[in-house]
């Protein structure tokens, strides 16, 4: 009987003028307020107010796109603090890695988290693409969202690849050398593309600066723009698809 209830506190908080100016709806006790939570919020209103119950099942999408997005968010959250400790110049870039290792509080953890999240993001983006393909979720009206997905996959690969050079260790230098040597093989424009990418004829300080700007500004902004279109179109096209109704999914349907 002597339980402490926070309800009066919440009621008081919700009644204050400041709270009312930020959140215009009441507590989530009614469906009307549950709807308002979604469509009065800039970030949540990429969702409809109601979703098909079936789409919440794990096997519907395996949440692969969600894991990819979670990685992207985590990569921004760890990437920005990493930028505070990083200079895109030779040899300071490599020394900054050592600073992260020996001087910066939790520097190793921050770098590790950024690295593994990047690998996971590339991996789950691939898996997400395969899931969409095998479920036939590229079919009309979702054709163009599939194309945007391919663009997002390429942007993800480029993000990972440009980040690979930044530690300026042997792994980074030669990994990027091998990759950009492949670009050189393109007929006619290969050499020019490589020169443009590296700011020279070999991987050097200019390349490091270019990859840094691409990695921290150009590609993340590109990712954000295409992600926005990707999510908006998911909603416009009727939500996540999952197993198609007419093929293998029909067994699943019969079971429910």
């Amino acid at each position: 009987m002597n339980t402490i209830s926070l309800a009066p506190l919440e009621r008081w908080l919700r009644g204050t003028a400041v709270f009312r100016s930020i959140v215009r709806h009441g507590a989530s006790e009614t469906n009307r307020n549950r709807s308002l939570i979604v469509f009065e919020n800039l970030f949540l209103h990429v969702h409809p107010v109601k979703v098909r119950e079936k789409t919440l099942r794990f096997s519907h999408t395996y949440w692969l796109g969600g894991v990819t997005l979670a990685c992207a968010v985590l990569l921004v959250a760890t990437g920005v603090p990493l930028m505070f400790y990083y200079h895109p110049s030779v040899p300071q870039a490599y020394r900054d890695m050592k600073e992260l290792q020996y001087v910066v509080d939790n520097g190793v953890f921050l770098r590790n988290l950024h690295r593994w999240a990047a690998h996971l993001m590339v991996f789950t983006a691939f898996l997400h693409m395969l899931r969409v393909f095998y479920h036939g979720a590229f079919r009309p009206p979702r054709q163009f969202n599939w194309v945007i997905g391919v663009v997002l996959l390429i942007v993800t690969l480029l993000l990972s690849y440009t980040g690979y050079l930044l530690p300026w260790d042997q792994l980074a230098f030669w990994g990027v050398s091998v990759g950009t040597n492949m670009a050189r093989e393109a007929p006619v424009i290969g050499e020019k593309i490589r020169f443009l990418l590296l700011g020279g004829n070999m991987v050097s300080e200019n390349a490091l600066l270019r990859f840094y700007v691409l990695h921290c500004v150009v590609l993340p902004v590109g990712l954000l723009v295409f992600l926005a279109v990707h999510f908006w179109r998911i909603r416009k096209d009727g939500g996540v698809q999952g197993p198609s109704d007419d093929a293998a999914g029909s067994i699943d349907e019969a079971g429910s």
């Binding site: 989530s28 009614t30 469906n31 009307r32 549950r34 709807s35 939570i37 979604v38 949540l44 969702h47 107010v49 109601k50 979703v51 098909r52 119950e53 919440l56 969600g66 979670a70 990685c71 490599y94 890695m97 290792q101 953890f109 590790n112 988290l113 593994w116 690998h119 996971l120 693409m129 393909f133 095998y134 590229f138 079919r139 009206p141 599939w146 391919v150 690969l157 990972s160 690849y161 300026w168 260790d169 042997q170 792994l171 230098f173 030669w174 990994g175 091998v178 990759g179 492949m182 093989e185 393109a186 007929p187 096209d237 009727g238 939500g239 698809q241 109704d245 093929a247 293998a248 067994i251």
Partner: protein, 235 residues
């Protein structure tokens, strides 16, 4: 003079209830409106909470990984000291492995370019939209054609000594024939429901995985074959 009944607003708090709707649906309309008997739930809390939990699980698992495994950091970059082998990041090692078999223009430019083009055109190719299970209604002629194409592909790859693609190609072909005439549940039943585009994608995924695994674990100095459990890569 008759009086109209008073207008009342009914607010339902059934979290999975759906109001009755009347809609005119054209046959070419979006698939989401074709189904009528679907259960809907409120996005908040059902979906939003799941998304929050998903995010937390990802953050926790990656944090644990970050505590246990350190990101690699080697010596400072040295342009005059080439490591042997010099490897690209893992997602490009399939391509690097291809370079071992084919000329650089083919392995480094032509094939990756074709893969990107093939991915982009998937939703616009009619075969991807209409194809049913591959063996459905197919006769002996199809079997011979499939066997012929697989044999030609195998011989072409064998001519380049490209066993890393030739052998997976044979295995996928074997699975294709194993799926013939089967149905129902189980793994073979699932295989029998794959359409031609899905078989092609399966072949691509198997080949890409084999190439990436070989490039990552089985290649040593001079891109020679090594067994990962025998070699010491970091002296």
């Amino acid at each position: 003079m008759s009086t109209l009944p008073p207008l009342t607003a009914v607010e339902s708090n059934d979290p999975v209830g759906t109001p009755r709707r009347i809609a005119l649906v054209r046959p070419d309309t979006r698939p989401s409106v074709r189904r009528t008997e679907e259960r809907y739930v409120m996005t908040f809390p059902h979906l939003i909470l799941r998304e929050v939990i998903l995010f937390q699980v990802v953050v926790i698992l990656l944090s644990l990984a970050a505590l246990v495994f350190n990101a690699p950091l080697e010596e400072m970059a040295n342009p005059v000291e080439t490591p042997n082998p010099a490897k690209a990041p893992w997602y490009f090692l399939g391509l690097q492995e291809l370079l071992h078999y084919f000329p650089p223009v083919v392995a480094g430019v032509l094939l990756p370019g074709l893969v990107v083009v093939a991915l982009v055109v998937i939703p616009y190719a009619r075969v991807n939209l209409t194809a049913g299970p591959f063996w459905e209604g197919k006769g002996r002629g199809t079997s011979l054609t499939v066997a012929g194409i697989a044999a030609a592909l195998f011989l072409f790859l064998a001519a380049f000594r490209c066993w890393a693609i030739a052998i997976p190609t044979l295995l996928v072909t074997a699975a294709l024939f194993a799926a013939r005439g089967t149905q129902g549940p189980g793994f073979r039943g699932a295989l029998s429901r794959l359409s031609l585009p899905q078989w092609i994608m399966t072949w691509f995924v198997v080949v890409a995985t084999v190439l990436t695994v070989i490039g990552t674990f089985f290649r040593g100095p001079g891109w020679s074959w090594v067994w990962p459990w025998l070699s010491v890569t970091h002296p």
